[in-house]
């Protein structure tokens, strides 16, 4: 039951993704055509506030509920993995109009075809780990 709070945070996040139309294919297309500020405003303001939050956590001005300092697991370095992986992700994001979070929100919205996208995403994650030794990182 200690995980129930994460379910509730997820509900909040799912509502945000849905209410701000981040789950709309059209909003992603519009972003990549530079025809609206909406998505840039969302990501930009989240990151600006996020930088402040990270600073407060790292300088222990804010601690976790257990009173501990947070430990952010650093992302793996390497230009190939981040750039190539990023490009592949971006191709799929613009085609399907959904990154992983919105995929789950669209399941809740009752969009049947998103289950095929989600299946593809699981196959993609599986395939990456099956072939990763052969890829540049």
């Amino acid at each position: 039951m200690k995980n129930i709070k994460f379910l509730l945070v997820g509900v909040l996040f799912g509502i945000i993704l849905s209410k701000a139309e981040i789950i709309s294919w059209f909003r992603i297309y519009e972003m990549f055509k530079f025809q609206s500020f909406h998505m840039y405003g969302i990501i930009g303001s989240a990151v600006v506030i996020g930088i402040g939050l990270m600073f407060l956590f790292k300088t222990k001005k804010i601690k976790t509920i257990q009173g501990e300092a947070i430990e952010v697991i650093a992302k793996k370095k390497g230009v190939s993995r981040n750039l190539l992986g990023g490009i592949i992700f971006g191709l799929g994001w613009a085609l399907g109009g959904a990154c992983p979070g919105p995929m789950f929100a669209l399941v809740g919205k009752g969009i049947l075809p998103i289950l095929v996208v989600l299946l593809g995403a699981l196959l993609g994650a599986f395939t990456y780990h099956a072939v990763k030794q052969k890829l540049p990182h």
Partner: protein
């Protein structure tokens, strides 16, 4: 009530996403949706085929609960928190989409050319859906994060890998939107 029922502007959504990340950190965790693709693979028995998936997914139950919540949030919004599925797009977007074969842009959240059940049941439609998902799943795990892990959390932590990855997201997204999508429909 209108404030809730109308679409939320960026200056509401952005800070609320930062708040979501805050809550996850406050509860001693982190923000990252795409690692759940690995959790689901592991839960489904992928460890029988690829050793990576032999990790104990139960330690990530909290994150699986998080995405279960996202599904619920999508459901709750659809049932009770919106009055219309119309998306108010820039007029230029609607014109551009019409020119590449996607009509009625913004009448719903998703284009029927891709997300209708009829389209899903055609070979091309099915391939588009599964292909888009495959690229997202493969790319996010190759890069070690998606829009949440790299885009929001990694950039908030000012991590160089995340700026490279987000640069990649945009290179891929721009190639798809400007050079590939016009030839698909």
């Amino acid at each position: 009530m209108d404030i809730i029922l109308n679409p939320w502007p960026w200056y509401v959504a952005g800070p609320l996403i930062a708040f979501t990340m805050f809550l996850l950190f406050y509860f001693g965790k982190y923000f990252g949706v795409s690692s759940n693709l690995e959790n689901i693979c592991a839960l489904g028995g992928a460890g029988k085929f690829v050793d990576f998936f032999k990790f104990d997914w139960r330690k990530n139950t909290w994150n699986l609960m998080f995405i279960l919540g996202i599904i619920l949030g999508g459901f709750i919004t659809n049932e009770w928190l919106i009055t219309s599925d119309t998306v108010i797009l820039s007029p230029q977007t609607i014109t551009d989409l019409s020119a590449i074969g996607i009509q009625n842009a913004g009448h719903n959240f998703l284009p029927s050319e891709i997300f209708s059940t009829e389209s899903m049941l055609t070979l091309k439609g099915f391939a588009l859906l599964i292909g888009a998902g495959f690229l997202v799943g493969f790319g996010s795990r190759y890069a070690g994060g998606c829009t949440s892990g790299h885009g929001i959390m990694g950039m908030s932590n000012l991590e160089t890998p995340s700026f490279i990855a987000v640069g990649g997201f945009f290179i891929g997204g721009l190639i798809m939107t400007w050079f590939i999508l016009p030839h698909i429909f």
